[in-house]
Structure formats: structure tokens, C-alpha cells
Assembly symmetry: C2
């Protein structure tokens, strides 16, 4: 599983061969077929294993303490935490998106969970007068989630020796994302909160 996860993330579904995975895992070539039935089944298992903890984390934040702004910030931080702990995960999410096909069930479930929790936070934030009016919760949700995902991924890409993000720490990136999202959503006059 660990090898599959890394190689699928790095090279995509077609690019990661069963041979490469089993060799990396120091297992026999037949191991995938025996334990999972097929390469595709292994892939689905990996995706589910990657996304399930994210769903749990998101649900926990949503049930957590604080007002809407606190919980929004916690949501962004939860994404960062999750993506930092699982360096291969963003690639998976983007591969799913980039493929453009109907997403497989665990992806669909994760999208539904995240969007649902964000919509609740937005609604509460508007009710409390903490947030600006939000015209479309789904679009705003995408805008918010885009921050951790894009920043982590692109940050990795631009963080190289000569890249524009060279030397920028993970903490700085997270604080930037939180500030950016907060600023975009908070109602003018509530900035102190």
C-alpha cells in the first residue's frame, strides 16, 4: 500500500506498473493480484485509504468549537495538516480532477463531505454577521479549498533552488493561506475578530 501510494502519486495510474510497485515493496509480482484482485482495485483501495482520514478530519473540525471564522480557519489548517502528513495526497486529488472522468466513489464522497461542511460554516458566518454575503457557497468553497491544495503542490514545485518560493517555510505558507481566505471572507469591520 505504501509503495503503491507513492508510485501512483508520482507517476499516475498508468505510469506506475505493478512490477515497479511490488519491487519497491520488496514483494512478489503476484502480490497485488492475490491481495487486491487487480491493479485497479489496488488503486481504489489506495485512494480510499488516502481520502478517508481527510473526511474524518473535516468532520471533526466542523463539529468543533468556535464561531464560523474560527472553524473556517481550522478547516484550512486541517487541510494543511492532512496534506503535510500525507505528501502524496494532493497528487491523487489532482489526478482525479485532471482525469476529468466521473470521479470514483471515495472522491465523490470526500467532495460531498467537504463542500457540505464548508456550506454550513458559510451559512453560520453569514447569519452571525461575521462574513460578507456569500453569493454561491459551492464556488466559495472551491476558492477556499484551492488555497491549501494549490499552495502545497505549487509550493513544492516553486520551492526549488532557483524557484520563487525558495526558502519559504511550511508555516509561512499556511499562515499566508489562512490570512488570504480570512481576508476574502470576513465582513469589513470585523477584522479584529
Amino acid at each position: 500500500m505504501r509503495s503503491a501510494r507513492r508510485l501512483f502519486a508520482r507517476h499516475g495510474y498508468e505510469g506506475a506498473s505493478i512490477r515497479a510497485i511490488t519491487t519497491d515493496a520488496e514483494a512478489n509480482l503476484g502480490a497485488v493480484t492475490y491481495h487486491y484482485g487487480s491493479k485497479e482495485a489496488l488503486y481504489h483501495a489506495v485512494v480510499e485509504a488516502v481520502l478517508e482520514p481527510l473526511r474524518r478530519r473535516v468532520a471533526a473540525v466542523s463539529a468543533g468549537p468556535g464561531n464560523a471564522l474560527d472553524r473556517l480557519e481550522a478547516m484550512v489548517r486541517a487541510f494543511f495538516e492532512q496534506l503535510r502528513e500525507n505528501p502524496d495526497q494532493p497528487q491523487f486529488m489532482l489526478q482525479q480532477v485532471a482525469a476529468g472522468n466521473d470521479p470514483i466513489p471515495p472522491v465523490r464522497a470526500t467532495i460531498r463531505t467537504v463542500m457540505g461542511e464548508l456550506a454550513r460554516i458559510f451559512a453560520e458566518g453569514e447569519r452571525e454577521g461575521l462574513f460578507r454575503p456569500i453569493e454561491n457557497a459551492a464556488l466559495t468553497g472551491v476558492s477556499v479549498i484551492a488555497q491549501p491544495i494549490q499552495l502545497i503542490l505549487v509550493g513544492r514545485l516553486l520551492g526549488g533552488e532557483a524557484g520563487p518560493l525558495h526558502g519559504v517555510s511550511d508555516v509561512e505558507i499556511e499562515e499566508h493561506a489562512v490570512r488570504f481566505v480570512r481576508t476574502a471572507l470576513i465582513r469589513p469591520g470585523e477584522e479584529g475578530r
Copy 2:
């Protein structure tokens, strides 16, 4: 080229075979080798062909009229225009990012151009007092560019029959992105501009 572009975008580099591409293009199997030399050379040609117009467009916006806020908005709209006219492009950009390897030269050039132009806009916006203080231009640039990319891609994914973005038009998506970015960067008190 057109077939290669579509199939590379849809299935990734490894997932799109020369046979599939040439069949789709109603060309001979040998056409790729003859005209480009190898599959990899074809891929590089496709990436360059996809990114070059984007670089031109970004440069044009940066040289265009208006204050920093106008040009920032124009930049976001330019991305939407570009991505709408080239439906396969976002996948390419994300595949490059997801692969995590050293980006190939056209990608590197595009990143440099976009980030550079955005940094100029930010600096001018701060100087004019139109923008909030921007702590890190590169991070803020990523946050801005994440909007069109993520919204177009995820919008496609969530726009299905039962998706949360079903029925949301391209125009609404673009207006949302412009508003989101504008709100996140404009200095309080300048909202009327």
C-alpha cells in the same frame, strides 16, 4: 497535435499511446516518429504550444492600461479566457505540477512570466495604496492563479447532473473568482474603486 493534446490531457503522458493518438487523428502509426522523432518530443511540443499563448496573453495584460487593481482583474480574466479557449490546458498544468519532477522548460518559462508580472502588479498596487500590504508576492501570486485554475477544473468536475455546481454558468464562475481575488487584496476603504 490536436489529438495529442486532447489525449495527453485526458489520460496523461503514459496513458495516451501513440496508437491512440494517431488513430484519433486518422493518421498513420508512424506519423509521430516521423514528424516529431519520439513520443516525448511530441509531448514537449504540445506543452509548448499550449503554454506559449498563455505567456503572450499574460504579457499583454501586464503591458495594458489601468491601475494595479484593473490589471489584476484583467489577469484573472485572461486566465479564464485562456482556459476556456483551451479546455485541455488546465490538465496539462496540473499534470506537470502533480508529477513533482523538475518542470520542463516551457512550464518553467510560463511560471516565471506569470509570477513576474503578478509581482509587478502587486508592487504597484501597494505603492498606489490600492492593495493591502502583501507579505509575500510569490505566495499571493499562487493564491490568485489558483482561482481560475481550480475553479475551471473543479467546476468541470462538480458541474455534473448531481454536483454542487450544477447549473452554474462560466460567467458566474469568472465573476466569483474576480470578486474573491479583489476582495482578498484590496485595501479596506478602497472598495469603491
